[in-house]
């Protein structure tokens, strides 16, 4: 091995970057990544209440800063120059900091910062689900790029091991270790699935693509086949010799991109909370897989946190719909049921009311529970709704908000919109906390929600939403139902008995316009 003459202070720090495997990792560096991981845990811990959440977010930023600075310092780009000969005549090399490469890295960070902050400032709160989907796709693609970079330059990542079976004879030619190749392959595959799946989720959520499920014939067979092929290719890739790996990893990457598309395409718009959570989880597992490859504690801790976070959110969403994760991922929900619901429909009588009627009765009420749904987000009615709630409270009416876990297009979607409209979070309740209060409520005010108040979920075993926990709005003295028209049914494609109850008044209009009218009448 050639000896390096360390000529710059940076160079001391730069050596571990190109050190061969087997060399001990600088314990301070490992410690720094561990601290960074702990800060990420604290960041999530802070979200247990709105009061501590802002501090939590700051912890997250600190953790990221530690991870990035540690990496920049230990892997500072260097150039090697020929130096003077030593006394015994062996040539030496000067390792100097490569300021040009360093500035390229800083420029790359700056570009990302400008784009990221601009998007974060400008995005409307109603567009949060598609923004999160878009961000997931970036993590996925970054994982693919890092995986590929590690494949192309394994030396920089310390992944090379000698080609003998014991792995200690460093005079033999070097190759990437089999375990590293499996981790790398997993990272690339999960990253690619996250990317293409999130792109489809983004397109569906932002309306660039129809939200209705697109069903390919024999899609389950195709998907399972592609998945099996990815696993086989990853195994072959791990076992292949250095000269044979390229076609395998290319094929594996391409197939992983393809299956991401295929899996998300048949899933309908209102199942997106599950999909977005699932992709959140995948982006975590991708980071964890790359963390295994690099032996980096910060990445592994983060990956595990994000992976479990997304998995738990998916579970909560599925439970709130009484559906198994498998049935959501299998897709197609709403497409078949919609067709079935159409033919059985008959004209049933319903009562239609005006904004003036609604305003009059709301004023008389003692307790009003408002149930917002996706329709409120679409109509951007949250500010008008808050105004209405404020006016009612001034008149001595008790107003509460009731939020179903799957209301909207992502977990917590409604809460963010109400927070944006500066609704006090003490007035916003979860399903199980408020459901018993409908019996004492004078008015249940449903705005843009449908399936989450459908009593068929409790009574009709043949209904596609049977077993889903729903709000007991039928127990309230009065039900006001804001809906654009009587024509459309909810996402599940089932008719809703609430429309036709004696105590129900349908307010058929755009949600925002209707609430604004009610506000005018309340003044």
């Amino acid at each position: 091995m050639r000896r390096f003459l360390l000529a710059a202070p940076f160079a001391v720090l730069a050596t571990p970057a190109h050190a061969a495997t087997g060399e001990a990792v600088n314990p301070w560096v490992a410690l720094a990544y561990l601290v960074s991981g702990v800060f990420f845990i604290l960041a999530l811990r802070g979200l247990s209440s709105p009061a501590t959440s802002r501090t939590g977010n700051r912890f997250g930023m600190i953790g990221m800063l530690i991870a990035v600075v540690t990496t920049l310092v230990t892997h500072f780009p260097t150039v090697t120059q020929n130096g003077t000969s030593t006394n015994d005549g062996t040539p030496t090399f000067l390792v100097l900091p490569d300021l040009f490469s360093a500035s390229e890295i800083l420029i790359a960070i700056a570009i990302g910062a400008v784009v990221g902050i601009t998007i974060a400032r400008r995005i409307a709160m109603t567009a949060m689900p598609e923004l999160v989907a878009a961000f997931h796709s970036l993590v996925g693609l970054a994982a693919v790029l890092v995986g590929w970079a590690a494949y192309l330059n394994p030396g920089a990542f310390g992944l090379l091991v000698p080609m003998d079976t014991i792995g200690t004879d460093y005079s033999l030619p070097m190759q990437i270790g089999a375990v590293s190749k499996i981790e790398m392959g997993l990272g690339i595959a999960i990253g690619a699935i996250t990317f293409s799946g999130s792109v489809i989720a983004f397109a569906k959520l932002s309306g660039r693509m129809s939200g209705s499920p697109i069903l390919l014939p024999a899609r389950h067979v195709i998907n399972l086949g592609v998945l099996a092929a990815i696993i086989v290719l990853t195994a072959l890739f791990a076992m292949a010799g250095p000269s044979e790996t390229m076609p395998l990893i290319v094929a594996m990457t391409v197939l992983a991109f393809v299956i991401g598309f295929l899996v998300i395409i048949p899933i309908g718009g209102a199942d997106m909370p599950v999909v977005v959570s699932m992709l959140n989880s995948y982006s975590g597992w991708a980071a964890a897989a790359m963390g295994f490859t690099l032996g980096n504690t910060a990445m592994i801790i983060t990956g595990a946190l994000v992976g479990s976070s997304g998995a738990i959110l998916s579970y909560i969403m599925c439970r709130a719909m009484n559906r198994s994760f498998i049935s959501v991922i299998a897709g197609g929900f709403g497409a078949d049921a919609g067709a079935g619901g159409g033919e059985a429909k008959e004209q049933r009588p319903y009562k239609q009311g005006s904004a003036a009627d609604a305003a009059f009765m709301l004023e008389q009420a003692e307790k009003v529970i408002i149930i917002p749904g996706y329709g409120m987000a679409v109509a951007q009615a949250q500010h008008a709704l808050r105004e209405m709630a404020d006016l009612l409270e001034e008149k001595g009416v008790e107003v509460k908000f009731a939020i179903h876990p799957v209301a909207g297009r992502m977990p917590g979607h409604m809460n963010v919109l109400l927070a944006e409209a500066s609704v006090d979070y003490d007035k916003v309740f979860e399903l199980e906390d408020i459901n018993s209060e409908f019996a004492q409520a004078d008015v249940a005010f449903i705005i843009g929600a449908n399936d989450v108040v459908n009593p068929a979920a409790k009574t009709d075993k043949s209904s596609p939403i049977y077993g889903m926990p729903v709000f007991d709005v039928d127990k309230a003295k009065q039900v006001f139902f804001i809906k654009r028209s009587m024509g459309g049914v909810g996402y599940a494609g089932v008719d809703n008995d609430v429309f036709y109850m004696d105590q129900t008044m349908m307010l058929l209009s755009d949600a925002k316009k209707m609430v604004e009218e009610i506000v005018k009448n309340l003044d």
């Binding site: 991870a67 490469s101 790359a108 990302g112 990221g116 974060a120 949060m128 970054a142």
Partner: protein
């Protein structure tokens, strides 16, 4: 680090994640997704290593692109989370 040490950290972190995430209030599930998004971009560490090693140009450019993507996520994710969290407040008593 050897594989078993790494695996131990991973498994324990999964348990930490499980308990920490269940304690997150459902009202903050959207900020939770935004912030997990930001922190999973710690993958930038890999991109930085790739970009810093100039010996393989292909890997370097992939690394630089990875840095841009991950930075969008880091800055965007934390900024949008901060923006959301700033909205969750109790009203002043009148």
């Amino acid at each position: 680090m050897d594989f078993i040490s790494i695996l131990s950290i991973f498994v324990l972190a999964c348990f930490v994640g499980y308990y920490v995430v269940w304690s997150v209030t459902p009202a903050l599930h959207t900020p939770l997704m935004a912030v997990t998004n930001a922190i999973s971009s710690v993958i930038i560490v890999g991109a930085l290593i790739a970009a810093a090693a100039a010996d393989v140009p292909g890997a370097k450019w992939l690394g630089l692109l990875g840095i841009v993507l991950a930075s969008v996520n880091i800055f965007g994710g934390f900024a949008v989370t901060a923006r959301m969290l700033a909205m969750y407040k109790k009203k002043e008593k009148k």
